[in-house]
Symmetry: D2
Subunit: 335 residues, 4 copies
């Protein structure tokens, strides 16, 4: 028997993905913590699934000996549950936006709500291992990054860190996401007939994932234009990033910046310059695939970044963080 | 009986759309000109369609009394056929890229081929009525615009004409197209299993539609970054355009620029600022829908432009041009 | 100005299709009767649509001089609204299942509810013109057929009428429908992520459309096995019908039965034997396409029937019925 | 290092799925045998995949010490390659239709071609473990079943074996398959724009998978009506099977027949009566999910059977057969 870890929100898309990944993990076994009864309707198999279940209560941390608890819940639910699970001794990995921003002011501005746990906000580690690996093992509370910011920051921060971007021209990040990113709750906007054969922009310049991009990339708000758009697919995020540079001289120089940054990273894959990732290649994987091109004559660069929003953009990265937090090999269960 | 017009390439997606539109046109009836025999396989109805057919030959212009001929063909086929049809006395509306660029040099650069009819290149009118309406009725040969440039130019040129864009920062045009834009010929890249649940970029900074955008918008190549991307849908193009401005002070000022430009246009529809078009609203219509937002605090603007690539981006605009060329009401058969 | 007709339920998928069709009708103009306020959220065009609106009240029949009212509503709403609109003098064309069955007992059995207007049930004409054309002009109240039964009855009744089916072996009708058939109200089962790349059966042997099939086809319940299945598409119904016969000797004999039945019908198209319809060919049309094959060696026949569930299966057929009821040409607005 | 096994046809969809599965197998490692050079176009990752490659030649069996070779090739290629690989000492698991039928006559009738290896046809074991488990370990050559027959036979044979079906009424098997079943070679019929938002029947009563269904189920051709239909999805097969019975008295009795047959099978999952499988539940798994209902009043039964056509219908079942042939645990790499 492996080490046990709890999942709150296991009926949502990220929660279901957590179960799928943890069932293949060599050291860990999931326990479903039933927070809200939703109608478990639909077809029923005659053989039970055999998954462990327990009450969604801090006592379960002790009774089940849970090493960690994943919160695949809305931000307000995560703010409510995190303190008690932490107090009961579990590491908490939160997949919501509750603990990602650095200050209550930013939370208020982008989430239109008051933060009820400001001290935990200050304490939480931001769980983007490629840039924040050192802090994660030491943290009790890990804020798993948003899906759009994961793809954006892996593409943008190396450029900013290298100091090659003409920042007065700004950076454009044009984001496209599959519909699972909107969660499992039914709505008009995510019904099949509205989404199929359609495509649309939303939250233009105003998406609540923007502040995460600013925190990690080093850009300020006036420098980054981000648009979110809804793809008629289940899962996947692709972001097309545009910048200008007078320093870079070729696509080869551009890809070298990423090679230097990510050469040893297990979950970032680079394309040859002039070729670009697609969503099939990252579906159901924890990879972020990156492709670049640069037009030296005019100083224009384009970077394309692709992830599975439910894996590297949610459950997979959460397991990557759990591996770091519990001392496993970072890639366990993820390759 | 109406006036007769010929269609070459009626088995392709744009050709089929031409038939669909012309069958509802109040004054015109289509004649299918069979250029190449492709296997007319598939299901067969017992009642014949009743569509007129004739040989794809200049003699048909006289024998059928064709007032115009649509070429829904590849550029090299259009260059081959256009001179003879013009000589036979028909107006020619070409849906390919053969006659859209102003000079043989540009054609060579972007199409990787020699232009065989440079004098026709000089003569052709560019058929974007919203900006080139005056020249179209006088022209023998009309170059129907590309799909990406139609959506791009309707969104970008008003901004450039108004002189409000910070051109040193450049303009980004992030384009997404349905798969019918790639034509009907089978290929690996457009097979169902490759496209469904996928999304990818192609021809990044290098798409052959770029020079049309430059010609009409007034931008030069260093100022415009364009990426084409393949949507897992049949039809529709949505382009997200990013710019910076120190002149504009609000979204209301921004939409006013478009209102002034397009207030009387029958085929351009504007959204209230902060709301944006989607592809369902333009599917199977000749409309271009435009939505905008502007963040005054940071000087960043976003414009979203949507068309049906087979209608306003091809067959519908071709009929709009035919209406102008043959003296009909511009909207005949298109509302 | 044309004759005015009302639409209740214009925000649903069938209602929207009614608007689309009636806007092209040569003699009739729609008036939207707002029954329930649902959030008209989403993008807003700056130019108003120009559609007429009135209260959903019997007084509107007089004040607007409505010749007919379409009820694109749930059965319980149709039962509530129909009497008053009829009393006010309008013809009523009901797209729900409220008035399709012949007796309150059948309604109770298949709809699990009491019928509140049994006298109207007895009075209503079943609006399948291909088989019930004579009664429709005389009726005040027309029960527009269900989508599955329309495709099924057009395929099955000619066989039963011709007396060629081995009825002891029964008939199988395997039905598949696009998701718009489930209506516009959001639900888990019709959300994009559940439907895309999926396929499933529902209401196996128990669908409430079965009694309509029995009433028209002449089969009894033990003779017909019907399964409904959800296709990952927006619109379209295809039904595959299996039967056995010792009378028929060839596919040619089989198609001759349909040719005799439907040779003069404007909205039924027959395929050459051995070729079969698909959903693209009927999308956005009022056609029912039928293809057949028969294996003489073993006495097995297959018939494939395809319609657009929102057109011939709902709004298009409703307009066809309106044309008959108001004395227009049956095909007005539908070709 | 594991035992090595070769894959011919690794660029096709079944071949790619074989690689995916074998990469997770605890005892075996794949070697790609390049049979034909097709343009390895598309994006290129900078880090090589690390997959082993060898020539598609019998010598590779010895040089690479291949325990088995998978042929994910067309039937004519399989007939050409199988003898030499067998002679070189490898077990051969053929995913084509080359060796599935019992006699050259049947092959001629259904494949419209002469069988070039009749003695191998006689020798081959049919690789449907749930019914043919004993013969598989002893066989040199295993004919991996077709996708449609796998789902059909698992659903039909238990009924026939139990003797409960009214065979004079016949059995209907209405099959629907995702587009990957048509293979990776581009064609008009499987291009995105033709398949999306579409559905159609093909090979009605004439599909070449029918004789496999007859061989295993025990039905004769006059008793089984099978139609194949193309779903607008990537992967998955769902078959809806209709029968009549005067012996069965309830859904509970019906499911008991399957429970008795499959109670110990690791890859068959049964649903509670009246609930039915969907394709999401079996996607990317080696499961066959089965659901049933029976209407005792009228003696009509329906069975729904669902698999992933590329896994239980191809590569997964091939690995299941390899496990049996090489003496591994049957479920290795498949759960």
């Amino acid at each position: 028997m492996g080490i046990l870890v709890g999942i709150v929100g296991h009926r949502g898309y990220s929660g279901a993905e957590l179960i799928r990944i943890l069932n293949k993990h060599p050291h860990v076994e999931p326990v479903l913590l039933d927070h809200r009864e939703d109608a478990g309707d639909g077809p029923k198999l005659r053989r039970p699934s055999g998954l462990r279940r327990a009450a969604c209560h801090p006592d379960s941390v002790v009774s089940q000996n849970l090493a960690a608890v994943f919160l695949a819940t809305a931000p307000e639910v995560s703010m409510e549950l995190a303190p008690a699970f932490l107090h009961a001794g579990a590491k908490v990995i939160d997949l919501s936006g509750a603990f990602r921003l650095r200050t209550p002011d930013r939370y208020r501005k982008w989430y239109n709500a008051e933060h009820t746990q400001p001290e935990l906000l200050a304490e939480a580690a931001y769980g983007l291992p490629e840039f924040c690996r050192a802090a994660i093992p030491r943290a009790r509370l890990i804020a798993n990054p948003g899906c759009y910011p994961t793809a954006a920051n892996l593409a943008i921060r190396p450029l900013i860190a290298a100091g090659v971007v003409d920042r007065t021209a700004g950076i454009v990040c044009d984001g496209k996401s599959g519909t699972s990113g909107a969660g499992r709750k039914p709505s008009q906007k995510t019904s099949f007939c509205e989404v199929t054969e359609n495509f649309s922009a939303y939250a233009v310049l105003q998406h609540r994932h923007v502040p995460e991009m600013l925190q990690i990339s080093g850009l300020d708000e006036s420098e980054l234009s981000f648009t979110a758009q809804l793809l008629p697919i289940d899962r996947g995020i692709l972001e097309t990033i545009y910048f200008r540079s007078t320093y870079i001289k070729s696509s080869a120089e551009l890809i070298a910046i990423y090679e230097q940054q990510f050469g040893q990273e297990p979950f970032v894959r680079l394309h040859e310059p002039g070729t670009f990732p697609d969503l099939h290649a990252v579906a159901r994987t924890n990879f972020c695939d990156i492709g670049v091109t640069f037009d030296a004559a005019t100083g224009r660069g384009v970077v394309v970044s692709a992830i599975d929003n439910l894996v590297k953009g949610a459950a997979g990265q959460a397991v990557q963080n759990m591996n770091l937090a519990l001392g496993f090999t970072e890639t366990d269960g993820l390759l």
